[in-house]
């Protein structure tokens, strides 16, 4: 070339010299090791809070978790009692929310996977993703404006509706994922037999994807069971046991924890820990069971 740089290619150069590590190589290798070490530490640090949290909830909650907590309603001014009103409340509010949210979420997922065009599906999916990101307390305000204000009455149903709104996009996205795993050949076989599209969707696609749908629903339930913010101005909370009075205020476990954590009495704080342990056990159990099973299938 024009620079006329002399060539090395004739004489050739044994690679031995080139393969010897230089100081720069050692520095780079050191940086690399440091990076790997720091990354490992970071990963460990991310798990530490989980461990600390579970440990303390178990430690502080185990003492409070007794028959009273499970069976007695709250008594005034920290005189003991239990979380029965809250437990029964959660057992009503959450399932009702699930019953409302499940069909909507599943149908919406069927629509995007089976019926709609790509663009509509993308739009709806996008809306669902964005909705997952809306702070749940705002959903609470929305439910308050819609279901409490007109009746001048805090009520359990409004709480269920608020939770349902939170659950719908979660159910939809998880359902979608499991429906997409249903092989197209199944659909075609059914359609070829003359089964109409809607029946194919329901009886073939949905049934095949059912376990995935159920898993998604369980995760949504676990999430809703721990939601507090949307219940504050809807279900409101109630010291008394309320069974079936959906038009009336009702307690729930997360509300119970929130309220009792803020009281100056140790007995109430301790009840909050007990309720937290109860809630944590439920949420972790659902997650471990569902994700442990589905994770193997879905994780990349």
């Amino acid at each position: 070339m024009s620079q006329g740089i002399p060539s090395s290619l004739v004489a050739g150069r044994p690679a031995a010299a080139l393969l010897v590590r230089t100081r720069a190589d050692r520095r780079r290798s050191l940086v690399n090791s440091a990076f790997q070490g720091v990354a490992l530490l970071a990963a460990v640090a991310c798990v530490v809070p989980l461990g600390a949290l579970v440990t303390f909830v178990v430690m502080n909650g185990a003492g409070a978790l007794n028959l009273d907590l499970l069976t007695r309603p709250t008594r005034a001014l920290g005189l003991g009692g239990g979380a029965a009103a809250a437990i029964l409340g959660s057992l009503q509010i959450v399932p009702i929310a699930a019953v409302i949210a499940a069909p909507i979420g599943v149908l919406a997922a069927l629509y995007t996977v089976e019926f709609s065009g790509r663009r509509t599906a993308t739009l709806i999916r996008f809306a669902a993703d964005v909705m997952v990101g809306i702070p749940s307390i705002l959903i609470g305000i929305f439910a308050f404006a819609l279901f409490v204000l007109p009746f001048h009455q805090f009520n359990a149903l409004a709480g269920s509706l608020a939770l349902a709104i939170i659950m719908v996009p979660v159910v939809m996205r998880t359902t979608e994922e499991s429906l997409r795993l249903v092989p197209g050949s199944l659909r075609e076989a059914s359609l070829a037999l003359g089964v109409p599209m809607w029946r194919t969707a329901l009886s073939v696609v949905l049934r095949t994807g059912l376990s995935g749908v159920a898993a998604g629903l369980m995760l949504a339930v676990a999430r809703a069971a721990g939601e507090t913010a949307p219940l504050i101005f809807t279900a409101f909370g109630n010291q008394l046991i309320n069974v079936g009075g959906l038009g009336k205020p009702m307690d729930a476990l997360p509300l119970f924890i929130f309220v009792n954590a803020r009281q100056p009495y140790e007995a109430q704080n301790s009840q909050a820990w007990g309720a937290a342990l109860l809630l944590l056990l439920f949420v972790l159990a659902v997650n471990v069971i569902v994700r442990g099973r589905a994770g193997r299938r879905n994780s990349r």
Partner: protein, 336 residues
């Protein structure tokens, strides 16, 4: 071939090749320290870091002998730089043996083609050479591979260092999409620290010229590498591999994702590059092997699904009169 454009007459070149006066001493920093007085860390003539040296000092192909000038090339190949000796090589993925007992000697300044049915371990073999194989979790190697007499699996060998000496070009062009053409070429050099702008400029031009891409991209070095055609992208990847100054170039089906014209350009480029490098090319295309290579190694799969070397010989012999029946079947079957 782009000989006319890429090969200006440079009268002083032959002298330059015989006279290594400007060639920096082969020592790296460490050997320099070991071999000389401690103070003499930077031998005279080493104006830049050792990593940069090979890429800078190598003479562009353009001044090398023309492709027809084979006697000259043969003279050059007597040099020992870039001689690979593979002995009793076994490669594993976990417990599965992918390569069984390969003995192969790979000559410098020549193209060695690896052919064989798919799944016979050609690519795995290639990746054992620059120790890319061991990056796969559970992948291991037994046996020895010597580069100019140095065991590349020796305990004192840093695979990261080794890969700079044995460059690799992959099946699919893989420019870094967030980098410009310029930055793609110097990506390897940037790893080893700061370099002066003028040094980098020189390496970019030299590497791109060697990869026969300079004329096409010299006016748009700042543009994104993804803006190039597939063939250009692959030559960019070759330039990127050359820029760090390797001795050996490992090519894994480098033209299989390209159209015929781009393929032709790559093949022409390989013919030029072999005058400076040891080239090992995996190809599924036997005509290509016949066209570009000097020697051909035929691998196939045994009963145990492990790939093994059937024979290696001059390419002309493999394709006309191989010693082994298996080779003949394979070669004639495809050509038949």
């Amino acid at each position: 071939m782009a000989i006319d454009a890429a090969q200006p007459e440079t009268p002083g070149a032959p002298e330059g090749r015989q006279n290594p006066q400007g060639r920096p001493p082969p020592e790296t920093e460490e050997t320099a320290v070991a071999g000389h007085a401690p103070g003499v860390r930077h031998a005279p003539g080493v104006g830049h870091s050792p990593e940069l040296r090979p890429g800078v000092q190598r003479l562009p192909i353009a001044v090398g002998p023309g492709p027809g000038d084979l006697t000259d090339g043969a003279a050059a190949s007597e040099a020992t730089a870039g001689l690979l000796e593979v002995r009793h090589l076994n490669a594993y993925y976990g417990t599965f043996r992918a390569i069984r007992d390969v003995d192969l000697s790979i000559r410098p300044n020549a193209v060695t083609a690896l052919i064989g049915p798919s799944g016979c371990g050609k690519t795995t073999f290639l990746r054992t050479l620059n120790r890319m194989h061991e990056l796969v979790p559970g992948a291991t190697v037994q046996g020895t591979i010597e580069l100019d007499g140095v065991d590349v699996y020796g305990s004192n060998i840093d695979p990261v260092r080794l890969r700079r000496v044995m460059g690799m070009v992959f099946q699919r062009p893989s420019p870094f999409p967030t980098m410009s053409i310029y930055d793609n070429v110097v990506a390897g050099l940037r790893l080893t620290g700061r370099h002066q702008r003028s040094e980098l400029d020189a390496v970019v031009e030299r590497s791109l010229r060697r990869a026969a891409l300079w004329d096409e991209v010299k006016d748009k070095l700042r543009e994104n590498g993804m803006s190039l055609s597939g063939g250009q992208q692959q030559r960019l990847c070759i330039a990127r591999a050359l820029a760090v100054g390797p001795e050996v170039l490992l090519m894994d089906e480098p033209a299989s994702a390209l159209d015929p014209i781009a393929t032709l350009r790559i093949e022409e480029l390989i013919a030029e590059l072999k005058q400076s490098y040891t080239i090992v090319i995996v190809t599924h295309n036997m005509q290509q092997a016949a066209r570009v290579s000097d020697r051909t190694a035929f691998l196939t799969m045994g009963e145990d699904r492990a790939g093994y070397l059937v024979e290696v010989d001059e390419t002309s012999r493999i394709f006309t009169n191989p010693r082994e029946r298996l080779t003949e079947d394979y070669v004639s079957g495809r050509f038949g």
